[in-house]
């Protein structure tokens, strides 16, 4: 495979951009920045790839962030369209809703200590700093408020680190403690701005400084007004790129773990259940700590899977019977223990869970297995572990693979629901025909306007769902709220369940009425409930509702994406006919003359209220 530099100098990097994630896999630090310098030189218009528009604004010189962010986003297959605002123009940018900033999907407003230090007099006391901090916090809150009203994307602030070279100018420790306290109080207020502003994210830079990254390079700070060190900006780029990945709907959903030397020490096949290390020894404690972290991640909606080259029986016995094991079989949606290649097991699990393989993160101590998965399944994020289990936690958590803006009530229940789903598949296998299966499944569907408490989940569905997503339009919670408040629009939440349990809020219909036309602006359904009549039930319901409320037609749009090919024929299959085409969007029309009935095996409850 040619290197990134070779493609760049041959002039073919733009047309072969789809190879970039594979070329960047495993790169970090200086190597990744070097790649970013080349990637940032490409003309975005010459590249065919999913893009994310980003404005970088803030206080100091931030140009070093461009290549770093470009490379980090390219790792995820996304092209950054980056604009760097004029030096120190963040106040102007954010207080001007007509500015470019307000059209970007992501606004990185990078705050450095000189936001405060530049306004502190000489000589100074802690009280002078307090005054400046109070002013800045009020300003930032106001800017974030303006953005919440007019912004169309996500605004990112960060906590402002306190430099040692500033605190050290106070010779008495009592004053230094006072400065430390009031500085951190200001940062706490900054972090809390997130609580009532759905469009704001505040990154805590203390967390990454704790990794030993220098806050500043004094020469760059003095000579070039670049107040944050290149290494810190590179780390900031990594975190914000993960945020961008999530905003673009590429959140990771599954953590697939090897077992021997990853989840426990030793080799189960050789050492036996009593011989593996999971607690009470030096290495055993390291594995116990790692298992606790896996369990903690799993408790927040990430699906855990085990993929191990082992016989199944001893693995099940170890997870069930070992007295000191932290992770148990129930913590995993599936335990794949067999001798087939791991990429096969991962692909099969993705198919059974109805998830894209690119929503997987795979961690293994074997370079061979990691290399194989990288090669066979380039969409999988691979975390290469090694023989030092004390470092497993850091390696899995270093990239924020599972980061989301908010958790929803649905998240805690997700692993159990997916486990139910795999049970359903076994149930399906016991039937001769799909009709017989569906008749026995007892599917229930409830369609009703989204309640205020359901808005985070509705937004999450638009952000996470890629396959059954007719237009791939992503909506933040504030966008959903606006639609629920629009009298011409209806946001209908679709709940489903069956004999195995409640699936929860699994889909959304976005409707808009315009005269005698009812538009289905988007229709989304979680991949967990495909192909059991839920989608047909939803469309039949909307059509009947349109007819009963005096509409003459229903229009539905389909915009193809890399992932949603399976719903290209959804509207035609429900009696719609192609009606118009605008660029890549096909609009389908139903004249309401003949409406198909909802599938008979589905028990339906409907409550639709539109004020218009």
């Amino acid at each position: 495979m040619p290197t990134l530099a070779e493609l760049f100098h041959a002039g073919t990097l733009a047309t072969q951009y789809d190879q970039v994630p594979a070329l960047l896999a495993g790169l970090d630090g200086a190597e990744l920045v070097k790649a970013g310098n080349l990637l940032a030189r490409l003309d975005p218009d010459s590249v065919t790839a999913e893009t994310c528009t980003v404005t970088i604004t803030g206080h100091g010189t931030l140009n070093a962030l461009v290549p770093a962010f470009t490379a980090e986003l390219a790792r995820h297959g996304i092209l950054a369209r980056t604009t760097v605002s004029d030096f120190d123009s963040y106040v102007f940018d954010l207080s001007t809703p007509t500015s470019e900033v307000y059209r970007s999907e992501l606004v990185l407003c990078v705050l450095d200590p000189f936001v405060v230090l530049d306004e502190v007099p000489t000589p100074w006391r802690p009280d002078d700093v307090r005054t400046v901090l109070d002013e800045k916090l009020a300003l930032l809150a106001q800017l974030a408020g303006t953005y919440a009203k007019h912004g169309s994307g996500t605004l990112v602030f960060n906590t402002i680190p306190l430099p040692r070279d500033f605190a050290g100018q106070l010779v008495d420790l009592a004053s230094r403690a006072e400065l430390g306290a009031l500085w951190r109080e200001a940062n706490a207020r900054l972090l809390r701005l997130m609580a009532d502003n759905q469009k704001l994210v505040v990154l805590d830079l203390d967390l990454v400084l704790g990794e030993g990254i220098a806050l500043t390079d004094p020469r760059m700070s003095v000579y070039a007004k670049a107040h944050l060190s290149p290494a810190l900006l590179a780390r900031y780029a990594k975190d914000t790129a993960h945020l961008a990945r999530q905003v673009k709907g590429h959140g990771k959903k599954v953590l697939a773990l090897d077992l021997d030397e990853t989840v426990w020490g030793g080799v189960l096949g050789d050492d036996g259940i009593d011989g593996i290390e999971v607690a009470e020894s030096y290495r055993g404690e390291a594995f116990r700590a790692f298992q606790r972290v896996a369990r903690q991640i799993g408790a927040q909606g990430v699906l855990l899977a085990a993929v191990s080259k082992n016989d199944l029986d001893p693995v099940q016995a170890a997870l069930r019977d070992h007295p000191d094991m932290t992770l148990r079989e129930d913590d995993f949606v599936r335990v794949s223990a067999n001798w087939r290649p791991k990429p096969e097991n991962l692909a099969e699990l993705a198919a059974d869970l109805n998830l894209g393989i690119d929503s997987f993160v795979f961690a293994d101590d074997s370079p061979y297995e990691c290399g194989l998965v990288r090669h066979e399944l380039p969409g999988v994020a691979v975390v290469q572990l090694d023989g030092e289990p004390a470092l497993h936690i850091q390696k899995v958590l270093r990239d924020d693979w599972f980061v989301v803006r908010d958790l929803t009530a649905e998240d805690a229940q997700r692993p159990a629901r997916y486990r139910d789903e795999l049970v359903r598949k076994d149930f399906l296998a016991s039937f001769e025909s799909i009709e017989e299966y569906l008749a026995q499944l007892g599917v229930t569907v409830r369609i009703a306007p989204a309640e205020p408490r359901e808005i985070p989940r509705v937004s999450q569905i638009t952000l996470r769902t890629n396959q059954f997503n007719l237009t791939t339009e992503r909506l933040q919670p504030a966008d959903v709220t606006a639609l629920t408040e629009d009298p011409a629009c209806a946001v209908l939440a679709v709940h489903a369940g069956d004999r195995f349990g409640d699936n929860g809020l699994v889909g959304v219909l976005f409707l808009r009425r315009e005269g005698e036309t009812l538009h289905i602006d988007n229709f989304l359904l979680s991949c967990r409930v495909f192909s059991r009549g839920v989608e047909q039930t939803c469309l039949a319901t909307v059509l009947a509702h349109a007819r009963d409320t005096g509409c003459a037609e229903v229009l539905g749009s389909y915009r193809p994406s890399a992932k949603n090919g399976k719903v290209a024929e959804l509207y035609p299959s429900a009696g719609f006919t192609p009606w118009a085409k605008h660029e890549d969007v096909t609009v389908f029309r139903h004249d309401l003359a003949e409406i198909g009935a909802a599938p008979r095996h589905v028990t339906l409850t409907v409550r639709i209220e539109e004020s218009a």
Partner: protein, 75 residues
Amino acid sequence: MTTIDGFVTIVRDELGLAVTADNVGESFDRIPGWDSVHLLALLVILERESSVPISMPSVLQAGSLREIYQLTVAQ
């Protein structure tokens, strides 16, 4: 990186700039794609490669890439 050729290679590979031994002495405004923001990135790279600190004010005042090269070998 002790020769001007090695320096040119670094600038080409790391920054993606079309620099050759022939135009490395030209003023920055005649280097295609040059932007003053490259100075900081280049300084970081050169210090990493040569493992010695280079005077940043001198780099910021340099008129051409060749002058920057001369600063690095003068250490």
